[in-house]
Amino acid sequence: ACTTDSSIENPPAAEGSASAESTEAAQPTEDGTEWFDQAVYDEQDAQRSATFEGDPEKPYLQYIDGEMTDTAAFAADGPQKACFSNASISNPWRQTGWITMNQQLKVLQDAGVVSEMETRDAQDDDNTQIADIDYFIAEGNCDAFIISPNSTAAMTPAVERACETGKPVIVFDRGVQTDCAVTFIHPIGGFAWGIDTAEFLSERLGEGDKVVALRILPGVDVLEQRWAAAERIFEENGIEAVDYFTGADPVEIKSIISDELATGDVQGVWMDAGDGAVAAIEAFEDAGADLPVMTGEDEMSFLRKWDETGIDGLAPVYSNFQWRTPLLALQKIFAGEEVPAEWVLPQSPITEDERGEFLTANEGMPDGHYAKFGGEDLPGYPTVWQERQIP
């Protein structure tokens, strides 16, 4: 008997737009992908000042008003089984989120909403994640799928196959090019991050100033969009920006900055993830150069170093609390409550004024912890995060 996965009949387009809504994906070129997408850029720019529905005390449940998905068909009694296909837990941001998610799971298990969550971790490999999802479809007895895609275009067919099972599918963090999922959960997005950070730097720097951009990895939509937006804004403001991929390796970062400082002055540092921000600042210290204006992330290491050095900085946030939302969405779905088709979570940077507040709130947390992890009300707080207990 031949088995063909019918979902593959809807071709995914190449990356360029992660948003499930923006079906107009940029056409792939010979040279790969153009990450900048004016429409999405404008949309996210607007969302930065949008009002969010729901309780501000529970940002992980807030969303921007928009199209809702009716989930009455998914209403179910008794604890249900969730199947989670995770891209990886290979960076501190994902690790923090994964811890939070597991604590959220405990709550829902105790509440009798979720019976269990079976997780497969693809260890950053698209091919593995496709196999993971197929395995869930064939063997998982899943009542729902939660998918955190490793990459956008590659994961699209597999997500579609999950949708075809008729069970609810929830996608979060990085996107896919299909809107078959019941909901796609994510903070505002990469362009918003890029706008926040690049505008911050541009305000403080003048024309002809130099910014070194340190990026962790290529090819991930949410990361590429950050840079696509920032690069554009720097260009518009006449700021010279050079970008490097560092894999967040502080040694690499230090060498890059030292070499840049050896060739000329650097006035600003831009980062697409907070990991490694400290090394960048230290490179200036070691070279005896003036500390730059800098944007990092809400990772504790950066907040602490920022506080310590008193540099002019900003911590953009790619809300880590989004890791709670998929399970909470599931709760709503099983209850038959409607959920946003695209669940846009709040995403606001931490400014210098707010810094102290977040530092106190997260005292005792490890350096790799994320300030806006949003799990203060979950069981196990704060020990589980402090000890970084990874299931």
């Binding site: 008997a1 031949c2 088995t3 063909t4 996965d5 593959i8 009949e9 071709p11 995914p12 387009a13 190449a14 990356e15 360029g16 792939p28 070129t29 010979e30 040279d31 790969g32 992908t33 153009e34 990450w35 990886s88 837990i89 079976e118 997780t119 497969r120 971790d121 260890q123 950053d124 490999d125 698209d126 091919n127 593995t128 496709i130 196999a131 993971d132 197929d134 395995y135 479809i137 064939a138 063997e139 490793n150 990459s151 956008t152 275009a153 590659a154 699209t156 067919p157 290529p218 090819g219 991930v220 939509d221 590429e224 991929f245 990874i390 299931p391």
Partner: protein
């Protein structure tokens, strides 16, 4: 001879893994032999399988290929890029992707055989070259595989994915090449002892170059298969899987000597199967991803140690069962040692350790 060959041992280990899998997977209330599970395992074998087939040849001739991850990515991008969602483009895309892959293999082979650069360095360098190209040219996934092509990645006959069948077909072809063609014999000969091969009238460059070309072509096929599964080409898909070191481990696990000259493709497939089952079992058991690597690492070493323990004793004992103590001082003597050979035969840093009497 009733002695176990290394291939036998590989499959015994595979059998043990199946038993362990049955029990462990069973303990979670799952069935190891269910369609979905078998399909998951076999899917796991296909990509690694392609690469390990090629890697077997390269290792047999006494080289290594660390450039495969980048060839895989490049091939996926060329393939998907040229296809551009047009079924009519499939053939040219496949041909061009394989041609470029083969050319990379040709350069690898020429550098190794012609310029006498150790395979480790030659292919490490080639990997860097291609990776620079990928990094400079692609910002993310690109291209589009048309439906007809994606079917290959998503179709199965029962629990057996088509991709696995293609991999096995390739293995069969390479097996025939290796065992029943002059080129295959020459590969064994060159890997075993290049000067001897030359003196016997074998042209020693050809087998090394051929092995590298086939290895890169196999990597190219793997890249195309990934393009079929992903629907797009990806500049990172090759390195994501860590296929370079994993494929070498699978080959050695399959009983092939890292120093070359001895080994079997069937054993390699066994090694690949073991890895795939291991991954499958750990995933079903939801082992912490960090611990998965620990298990992989330990299994690689322990399994290879099992063969290595069984050292070659070329001569049957003449007297008694009293095991003579042969330590480091008197390693098993190959015949090359008993005549005036050309000094230590190979300098790969990889002594012929894990041999098993055939």
């Amino acid at each position: 001879m009733n002695r176990l060959t290394s291939t036998h041992i590989v499959y015994l280990v595979a059998l043990a893994t199946i038993i362990a899998g049955t029990v462990l997977v069973g303990s979670t209330g799952r069935n190891f032999f269910s369609t979905g599970n078998i399909s998951d395992i076999l899917t796991g074998t296909s990509i690694l399988g392609f690469i390990a087939i090629g890697q077997t040849l390269v290792i047999l001739v006494g080289s290594l290929d660390l450039s495969v991850p980048y060839v895989i990515s490049l091939s996926s991008l060329i393939g998907a890029g040229i296809m551009a969602n047009q079924a009519g483009n499939i053939l040219p895309a496949v041909l061009l992707a394989l041609l470029v892959s083969a050319l990379i293999g040709l350069v690898n082979g020429a550098v190794v055989a012609g310029l006498k650069v150790h395979g480790f360095i030659a292919t490490l360098g080639m990997g860097l070259i291609v990776s620079g190209y990928l990094g400079s040219t692609y910002q993310g996934s690109a291209g589009q595989a048309p439906l007809a092509f994606r079917l290959i990645g998503a179709t199965g006959i029962g629990p057996v994915p088509v991709s696995t069948l293609i991999m096995l077909a390739c293995a069969a072809v390479v097996l025939v090449l290796l065992n029943t063609t002059r080129l295959g014999h020459a590969m064994y000969a060159v890997g075993g002892d290049a000067p001897v091969a030359r003196m016997s009238g074998v042209r020693t460059l050809t087998p090394v170059i051929a092995a590298h070309v086939i290895c890169s072509t196999m990597a190219g096929l793997a890249g195309l298969l990934l393009a079929a599964r992903l629907g797009v080409g990806s500049p990172t898909i090759g390195s994501q899987g860590g296929y370079d070191l994993l494929s070498i481990a699978a080959v050695v696990l399959g009983g092939t000597l890292l120093a070359g000259g001895k080994g079997s493709l069937v054993g390699t497939l066994g090694g690949v199967l073991i890895f795939a089952m291991l991954d499958n079992i750990m995933s079903v058991l939801q082992v912490n991803p960090f611990l998965k690597d620990v298990v992989r690492g330990v299994v690689i070493v322990v399994a290879v140690a099992v063969y290595a323990r069984r050292r070659t004793v070329h001569r049957p004992a003449r007297f008694g069962r009293g095991q003579a103590h042969r330590g480091d001082a008197a390693p098993p003597r190959g015949p090359g040692a008993s005549r005036q050979g050309d000094g230590p035969a190979r300098g790969d840093g990889t002594d012929a350790r894990n041999e098993v009497p055939a």
